[in-house]
Symmetry: C2
Subunit: 198 residues, 2 copies
DNA sequence: CAGTTCGTTCAGTAATTACTGAAAACACAG
DNA sequence: CTGTGTTTTCAGTAATTACTGAACGAACTG
């Protein structure tokens, strides 16, 4: 099976991009192919399309399964295994975020935590530990936020993204409201707070 | 120069992590070392600490410079080049976001755009193009948002992150306010809107 | 200008990673 | 159980990437 020209560019590009990411060219290509396909593909389809060995494809698919980026399914009356990607692109984003976190962030966090328990023996070590503490705090904040965001329905998430930095207007509004307990008519003070803020 | 034990774990870990990311072990280690250091280091310091060849370090530093992750500076009365990382961890996050985007996202976007201009020749191609359109839209939304967020001062960003998914409460509030032009006292209707929303 | 110190380049080599083909394992059908 | 179509494993090899040492070049010093 030949890949239509329009799709080929994309597949090859994804193959190269894969390398920048933790996966090899083959894995990138397989994923791109499945992403574009209008039906699930079996290993032979993929072998034919990409011109790579059967065993290579098998390994690639395994890796993609371990990333939960492809799904295995069966077609009635056919013994072969068919693969496809999730339809919803947001679903893909969520999965990627989770997996990358599991593989890259969590190990780092746990290493940081254990090093932060130790007692520094010198000014250098003390400074190093301080830096690690900063990094730890940063990662905690980012992942905490990511956890939170993961919980939102897609609708909401899109709404938030579109709002972008205009979200700060809402924050300003909130500040104004919450800084004035009971709303006792001290509006002017609140307006000042905003000005001095920047 | 020997790396204190407390820092060594971190440096080695970063070296390994580097590989998952687009950089090699050496580059990861150099970066970690500089990140932890309480003073700028020159190439020889780094060579000594990591036990790698001078030329390797030179190449690593060049790569880190191309990522804008380290800064070159000079110390009065010393001809050698000294390197350090930005102090502020948020600054680092911003730089990383920009660079990764430049290297990974932008090329993909431009490829997608050009492929989306073409006319599909078959149902398969049409479907493939449709998928690419979805992906394109997603990336545009994400990067647009990222651009927006980049503009915020760190203070604001932290505030937003801490708020996390509670941000939706603000959105609800905003909806309630904007859906009721002039605030003509139809509060009860607004409250209902929220309930049916989830 | 010769000598010194530093940084860069690059060809060669080491180390790692990717890929293949053959064999094994598996799953089912008759 | 045997045969067939399928996926997996793995040892060997190819390809790629990382690293080194030696040579070179640039910038300064006396």
């Amino acid at each position: 099976m030949d890949i239509p020209p329009l799709a080929r560019t994309f597949v090859l590009h994804f193959g190269e991009m894969g390398s920048r990411w933790g996966v090899n060219r083959t894995v990138g290509q397989i994923y791109a192919l499945l992403f574009l396909s209008n039906r699930p593909l079996n290993a032979e389809d993929i072998t034919g399309a990409l011109g790579l060995s059967r065993s290579n494809i098998s390994m690639g698919l395994k890796e993609l399964e371990s990333w939960r980026l492809v799904r295995l399914q069966h077609i009635p009356g056919d013994r072969r295994e068919y693969f496809s990607t999730p339809e919803d692109v947001w679903e893909i984003v969520r999965i990627l975020a989770e997996e990358r976190r599991k593989r890259e962030v969590d190990p780092t966090l746990s290493l940081l935590r254990s090093v932060l328990m130790e007692t520094p023996d010198s000014p250098e070590e003390r400074h190093a530990q301080e830096r690690m503490r900063e990094l730890h705090g940063l990662i905690e904040l980012l992942t905490g936020w990511a956890d939170d965001v993961q919980k939102l329905e897609t609708e909401r998430l899109v709404q938030l993204m579109k709002l972008g930095s205009r979200i700060t207007r809402l924050l300003d509004m909130k500040d104004r409201l919450t800084l004035l307990p009971g709303g006792k008519g001290r509006r002017r003070k609140a307006a000042n707070t905003e000005d001095s803020g920047e």
